[in-house]
Symmetry: C2
Subunit: 764 residues, 2 copies
Amino acid sequence: MHDTEYRVVGQPVPRIDGKVKVTGTATFADDMAMVGMLHGKLLRSPYAHARIKNIDTSKAEKLTGVRAVITGKDFPGIVVGFMKQYADRPPIAVDKVRHYGETVAAVAAVDEDTAEDALDLIEVEYEELTPVVNWEDAMKEGAPLVHDQAKNNIGATCEFDYGDVDKAFKECDYILEKKFATQRVAIGFIEPHAALASVDGSGKVLFQGSKQSPYITWRHLAWGLGMPLDKIRIINPYIGGAFSGKHEAFDLDFCAVRLTQKTRRPVKIVVNQEDVIGTYRQRHEKHVWLKAGMKKDGTLVAMDCKYIADGGAYLSVAALNLFLFGMFNALPFRVPHVRYDAKRVYTNLPVCGAVRGQSQVIAGYVFNSVVTMMAEDLGLDPLEVMRKNIVEQGETLVAGSKVSSTGLKDAIEIVSEKIGWDEKRSKKEPNKGIGFACGAQISGCRMGGHFASSALVKIGEDGTVQLVHGGTELGQGCDTVFAQMTAEVLGVDFEDVQIEMEDSHDGILDSGMFGDRCTTWSGNAVIAAAEDVKAKLAEIAAEMLGAKPEELVFRDKQIFVENSPGKAIPFLRAVRNAYYGVGKSLYGSGSWSFPGAEIADFSQGHCEKFTPSFSFVAQAVEVEVDPDTGKATLLNSIAADDCGRPINPLLVEGQMDGGSAHMIGQALYEKSLYSDKGVALTGSMRTYKIPTALDVPRLTNHHVLVHDPLGPFGAKGAGETCTTAIMAAIRNAIEDAVGVRLCEPPFTPEKIYQALKEKKEGKK
Amino acid sequence: MHDTEYRVVGQPVPRIDGKVKVTGTATFADDMAMVGMLHGKLLRSPYAHARIKNIDTSKAEKLTGVRAVITGKDFPGIVVGFMKQYADRPPIAVDKVRHYGETVAAVAAVDEDTAEDALDLIEVEYEELTPVVNWEDAMKEGAPLVHDQAKNNIGATCEFDYGDVDKAFKECDYILEKKFATQRVAIGFIEPHAALASVDGSGKVLFQGSKQSPYITWRHLAWGLGMPLDKIRIINPYIGGAFSGKHEAFDLDFCAVRLTQKTRRPVKIVVNQEDVIGTYRQRHEKHVWLKAGMKKDGTLVAMDCKYIADGGAYLSVAALNLFLFGMFNALPFRVPHVRYDAKRVYTNLPVCGAVRGQSQVIAGYVFNSVVTMMAEDLGLDPLEVMRKNIVEQGETLVAGSKVSSTGLKDAIEIVSEKIGWDEKRSKKEPNKGIGFACGAQISGCRMGGHFASSALVKIGEDGTVQLVHGGTELGQGCDTVFAQMTAEVLGVDFEDVQIEMEDSHDGILDSGMFGDRCTTWSGNAVIAAAEDVKAKLAEIAAEMLGAKPEELVFRDKQIFVENSPGKAIPFLRAVRNAYYGVGKSLYGSGSWSFPGAEIADFSQGHCEKFTPSFSFVAQAVEVEVDPDTGKATLLNSIAADDCGRPINPLLVEGQMDGGSAHMIGQALYEKSLYSDKGVALTGSMRTYKIPTALDVPRLTNHHVLVHDPLGPFGAKGAGETCTTAIMAAIRNAIEDAVGVRLCEPPFTPEKIYQALKEKKEGKK
């Protein structure tokens, strides 16, 4: 797909941060150092559940080179969380530890080795408590409580009912009930968590860390440290991937600041990969009991969904997770009658939060599997059934959001044709299978507090353009995309635009990088800011051209008077006149939020104005299963997505490949394991297997060009859509290949072999 | 004087940068370090005038720890200057050196000692040339030329004629002709020049140095390095004084960048105090032949002024210096008929540029001396003569600028009364004398290129305010003053406002900190930016209050509806609603320049729209002269200034004290000496004597509150006014004390003793 409507937008320009990244000069958190900087280390609990009876730091404090030691006592009475109403986590453990690897103390010393040595000298007296390490045990009457106030270890719930579910089921021709379970997985970004804090003589803290949503972290820091916002400045360096794992302020972040406050010297803390994988944020272990009803022609009528999320010791964004799973459970399919009952269960395991694709990943997996199973059971073509039930443009979902645009229908056609759905279904080869699925993802939402995005555009006296936006460049390419938008609005070249790193002093706030929010929300803010400065320059140019500002067209670094051939001046001349003639600086600012955006009550599943738009994807895969070993090999994947107008097709492709590869990992390989004591068993890249290049087949991507009415240049989110369909496609393909109906990824050789064996033995 | 009209403006609030400065945590250029940073050193010429035949750097390059060595060859064909049309200086010497201490090569090494050692290994082959070290030799026919293209070593001229000078002189009752000479002096800031440069993989340079006008330096760097502006980012740390000595990009600045480009590692160069005093910018040695004519009632009629500035090897701002000296020669007095002929002469001495008070310092010294001498000769009271001739409000000067406001008349009354002028004149004590003088200074001007000031004001979600302005905090207190203005406009507390360091990425450009420009120009920009964001917040608040935005009053952190008692909301609630309710960021930008500001042709002395306003000062001093030693002791100084409305009286006092002390140095103590070979003889704080606290008597300051129509809150410049009168006051007091008519500071015991001796021997 090649976009011809615009000059810079829609073009596959190379990344704006490419040069500094390939030359290794892009500064990531751990690349930073400051004069007199100390190195911090965290002491972690070896127990999943224990009472802290005493911590003796005296020996550690006496060690030469140690500058400060802190414990939970240094954060008196503070409890934080992702959202105020779901706060349940002390910055570091105070009276008890609730999961393996939870931080109980921190040290700052002149070098890393000294800090390490000091950790060994801290004497912690624990009283071991019985850990609950799975949801079933946790919910039993009389089970040990992770949090005293959470009865039966239930931390959050979400329930609702649409239409008349019982009546609707009675009218169904076919009802399927299935239990699905998806495993806890690590997030898998490469750059570990890192934080560098310093403080000046006025008590103002400068925080620089590896953060996905620096302004969320900024607010968390102020909260967890009991400081006013204006006493903390946060500047983001380059980020080495996040996938929703770097939103919150973590133990290292709070400790780096406390230690710098105690020592008055800069303190850097970097977490090793072991701890990142074994003890920080992960994707929930999810259990889904789905009952779905269909007419014999394949029309979906009703569903009843029970959902339990096993999420570890603290809530993080769990409430939103339950809400989203319910809100968009069947999406992109239409189900008029829905009942939903979800619980988030505390266990003594590391915390599960948001991960790329959030709930849509599992909802999409479950519902596409169910639709396919039901079609097969009714002898219908699953693809036909999908076509029949997909939501349409302008349609309002039962949960209340409106579909502003969709290209899913076309996407399905492209994929089914490219993969050869009909031929392959008609003449099936033994042990080979084909699977299809459709996915959808929101383009951001409002999540309490500050929810707008903002941007600032400045045109320099040399005609170059500086852009400051509230989005965060995590590797997804938003700096590039926003530079393209800015260049398009101002009619300059992509190369003329420069990006400034995020800095809370710039005040270009943003509510954060989640739910595919970046392109739509920050993008619209970038356009608003660019239009603002353009209007100021137009005033000056109009004067020079003897025209009205509204008659001017900015294109090819020229400013034209519309319909007046030859009446034009170079962009740069107008800019120079602003600075050197008129005596003005050229500045524009803008912010954007989805008009009327509501804050949802996450405990119930309805919100009229939740998200401005949805992105869609259709994806098909082919697998071959070795019946002797049970090994499923992914042969091929074809995806077509509708992310509105791709601002940069190259980057959208990258997102599609990344999203697919990410979920191939969960579908076939990954599982985060803990012992029955709650100790990490897969806490390293060696023991925790994410797919390598060799495990990922050729991924072919197509775009459906759709102009979304609310999107910047018609764009929608593109980062997560491709995580929502592929798992189901793989599952469906395996069933198509060897006729076993699996529900619990990862689909390892063992599981498939076992299923084949049972099938042979005639068990169902 | 206590200002009651405003709540924050006019109050003596403590400095906003006080805490970080007194705690030693304010970061100055030399406090900075970067990972992998190298240390640079400069090799300076021991000769004042020599041809460079060859530079062999091979030995130095081989020294362990040396990473790069550069020479003039690394700046091929580049010639820079303060202003494009007066460019005459290579970044470092190429084919010849023109003054002692000029840089011929630079080294970057792993530490300072290695860099020092490397300098010793660089072999420079010089062919010594005859240096011209004073203006008289330099202007002789056949004198060696400092620059081949500058005939008779004349680098710049300024000539003009107003009224009918010859006719006017014929009508005068008394004409005085006098030759004055003022000495070359060092500038005397404490923080030495320092530069830290680094470069990223995209070739973008980050420059952080001790710079008075970072945006001037920024443009100079781009020019001298042959780089586009957008490839250089300049961030200013705190600055330890400048007094106009840190505008330009110097050898160290260019070399730090070249060395970082060569090594790809950060490079820091810090100049020692010896070199700062002996080889960098100084105040011109000035020779003035003044012929002035007066009616017998003391009315000034005509003047004819010849002026020669001996300025060393390069022009720097010399052209502006000549222009200003002519434009405002007699100010604050009115002289209708004026002839002016000025030349700037090249010599083989370090470069003279702008120094606090620029030309007004010497013009004020000369003309106040002349007025006093003429009054005494005519048997008139000098003060009466001054009163009679001072310019008035609304008056247009012969040179073309309009006096927008003046409080000089009141200032004269205050000072004459406080010092007891009449009594002391009537019953004079032996060897004690009293002197009076009046001064004036512009409030900035346009100097080519970008001439506007700009500012950015952001209101955070917590109600705190971030201010970015284009002024530079040099110690004068502009950060504090602008925070006060911002707080006043928004009706918040001073403590709610924070300042961000200057950063060219912010694009808050400014033409620089010169000519008392800061308060007026940047101040008006700050107000414009604050009003801009205030208007945006007013929109939102009006909605909340059911009122029109224009009805709202921002005061005491509340937003009131005018004339509707009780109808108000807290400022913070409106801000929160903007962020959390409406979904907007609060951003304001503004710029200001003197409406219609012209760029003057510096070679002729006329400019209608040169400066928005003038500040004025009246100052009187008492001295006692020891007839046996000739030592003049300053007993007392009383000054009253009109700087419009003092935004912060405390800071204005600081400026008045500083300006007075600065010029007490030139009047009594300082002289920068060079050997007949042009080698610095006073290049250290030990040999170059600036006044200490013990040398400065009690300085009493008063303000005349004037509301200037163009000034921010009526303010005008305040930093330089007090440099313009005190030298003449001291000279006049010495004459009053012992009846010797001196013209050439510093008025050392030797000079006074010699004059007394000659007087006794009856010589005139």
